[in-house]
Amino acid sequence: MDKFSVFSSRLVEKSENFTSGHRACQGCAEALAVRHVMKALGRDTIVAMSTGCMEIISSPLPLTSWRVPWIHNAFENSAAVISGCESGIKAMMRKGKIPAKKINFVAMGGDGATADIGMGALSGALERGHDMVYICYDNEAYMNTGIQRSSSTPYGASTTTSPAGKASIGQHTQKKNMAQIAVAHNIPYVATACSSFPFDLMEKVKSAAETPGAAYVHVLSVCPTGWRIPTQDAIKYGRLAVDSCVFPLYEVIEGKYRLSYKPYKKLALTEYLKGQGRFRHLTDKEIQLIQQRVDKDYERILRLSEEEE
């Protein structure tokens, strides 16, 4: 449990803009992340959401878990849909067709929607520089359709389309680094976050929303179903990901890196991997190799953050 949380829950927005009654799995920390994000954003927000777990579990006609204006159109295009919402409102406000007021334009999608099928739409929206926030809920696979690999699935994870088997270690490509790709788009705000660190997450979402222009927030979202862990451990595994530096928390503001959280003691990767069904098949040697990669990537982030200081 992260150190800030104990006594500061009372500072958190009480109202729920993403309501109970949604049909996420028991213990879904992706739904939790949505809940946190919506607290940070508040009511003056328009959300465009990609097809995926969060969409399906929140909107079975005629019911909706959303209390803010919400639109789902397709799987790969929420970045483009929100571009349209933003452009439309901007034009209408400028022309006096509707009263001016600050509205957060937020697109959301899973890692598949973001790093794979929606990459084109996202890249285009970032480049055009709409005043928007894109939030990727990264549960490291296509969960909605039954745990298929995405380009954000980590090396070595077994999924239904990258199964571990006699001739395969499971996923055999490295996790695509979406935050880094977003940074390469030269947008003013990029951050990584995790719902196991809710205050940090909420602060980042607020910063993103306040940044004029395009912002990108990459949220590691633990999926007990897909990761094959007990439901009650969803928060724990988010913490382990961060504390073992598999998923460092940082911000990149106008190209400058800032580490948001440095683990008191960097945990060994095994802490994180063990207990997750998707990694069960990995040998110690394989874990060793992965550890090297994690170290290297973390050092890079450390170096970049220090450079900026």
Binding site: S5, R23, T64
Partner: protein, 97 residues
């Protein structure tokens, strides 16, 4: 109250099937999913709200005396609150069949 989907006539849907009753998912009671129930030992609760903060179903509520407990209408029984409670005052109990 939204009409149940299997009763709605086509004329009753808004154009484009837009839903105008926001947040009406609360009519769907996910408590039915639960096989275990969190039980809070109120006397030990330090009212920190951690359980509230981490419940994916937003179904921890604050009782009038300030302690927190699960709204069983929605609680799916994931056990996160019990696991995360810093003082360990929540226990998961099997639902009776």
């Amino acid at each position: 109250m939204a009409k149940p989907m299997e009763k709605i006539t086509w004329q009753e849907l808004e154009a484009g099937s837009v839903v105008t009753e926001i947040g009406n998912a609360r009519e769907y009671e996910t408590g039915s999913w639960r096989s275990e129930r969190p039980v809070v030992e109120a006397s030990q609760c330090i009212k920190c709200g951690v359980c509230w903060l981490f419940c994916p179903d937003a179904c921890i509520v604050r009782a009038s005396d300030g302690h927190f407990e699960a709204d069983l209408t929605y609680c799916k029984g994931c056990g996160i609150c019990a696991k995360e409670c810093p003082v360990g005052c929540i226990t998961m109990i099997a639902e009776e069949g």
